[in-house]
Symmetry: C2
Subunit: 152 residues, 2 copies
C-alpha cells in the first residue's frame, strides 16, 4: 500500500529526527537508511520543496529537519513525496454526478481515516514509541543484547 | 492507494451483487463497469480462484457471486486480486531482529486498521448505503432527475 518513495522519505526523516539538528550529508543518510543515493537525492529534493527539510551548503553543510520533529507528521511526509489521492468523484459517474456512490464512498472513508491517522502521528511521536528502534533509522546504535528479547 | 486491479474487481463484484444471482457474461460486465475486456478476464479469473465468483458455461452461462453479498467483504475482494501486504519485519532490521521498529509499527498499525475496516464492509453493506448508486455499478438504472440534488 505504501510506495517505496514513501518508505524512503520516512526513513530519511526518522534518521534526521534522531539527530537533534546536526546536519548530515546525503551520502551519510543514504548509507544509514540504505536508500540508493540517486533515489535519495530525488526524495530529499521533494522534502526540501515541501518545507520539511532544510539543506545547508559548505564543509559542515548537509540536511536537517526544517521544523521540530513534533511539528512534522507522517502525513506531511507522505504528501511531500506521494500524496494520498482521495476519491473526489466516482470513476464511473456521469458528468455532473458529483456525489460519490456507496462503493467509492466506502473506499474514500478508509482513505480519510488513513489520512487522519497519519496526521496525528508525528516523527517525535514515532521516536517516543521507543522500544527497540530500527538500528538503521537512528543515530544511536542499539545494544545487540536486546535482540534476545525479540518475539518470534 | 488502491490499485486499478482492486478498483476493477470491486466494480465487477458490486455489479454482480446488484443482480441477485442472474448470470451475466464477461462482455456485459466489461461494458457495464467500463473495464477493458482483457483486464476484466484476468480479474474475473482471480475472483473465481478465490471462491468469490462462480462461472457457468453454456448459452445462459456467465458469472454470479459464489456467496451471498452479505458474505463477501471488501477485504475478500482486495485479497483476491492485490492483497494488502502487512509489514511483518523491518526492511532495515538485522537478521533475527523480529520486532518491528516504531516507524514500521506505526505504518503496519495503519494497514491493520484498513484491513479491519475492509473486513467489516460487505458488498451487501455497501449496496445498503444506498443513496445515489453509481449507475455503472448497478443493474438498475437511476433516474436522471436525481442529479439535480447533487452537491457541488
Amino acid at each position: 500500500m505504501f510506495s517505496q518513495t514513501v518508505e524512503y522519505a520516512l526513513r530519511a526523516l526518522m534518521y534526521l529526527a534522531s539527530l537533534d539538528g546536526t546536519p548530515v550529508t546525503s551520502e551519510r543518510i543514504a548509507a544509514q537508511t540504505r536508500v540508493p543515493p540517486g533515489y535519495l537525492s530525488k526524495v530529499m529534493r521533494d522534502l526540501v520543496l515541501a518545507g520539511l527539510v532544510a539543506s545547508f551548503r559548505g564543509p559542515n553543510g548537509g540536511f536537517v529537519l526544517a521544523r521540530r520533529a513534533d511539528q512534522i507528521t507522517v502525513l506531511d511526509a507522505v504528501n511531500a513525496v506521494d500524496p494520498i489521492r482521495r476519491i473526489l468523484k466516482c470513476p464511473l459517474s456521469d458528468p455532473g454526478h458529483a456525489n460519490l456512490c456507496p462503493l467509492h464512498r466506502s473506499l474514500d472513508d478508509a482513505l480519510a481515516h488513513l489520512e487522519e491517522t497519519f496526521r496525528a502521528t508525528t516523527l517525535a511521536g514515532v521516536l517516543e514509541r521507543g522500544g527497540q528502534g530500527c538500528r538503521g533509522l537512528t543515530g544511536q546504535q542499539k545494544q545487540p543484547e536486546n535482540d534476545t528479547h525479540d518475539a518470534a
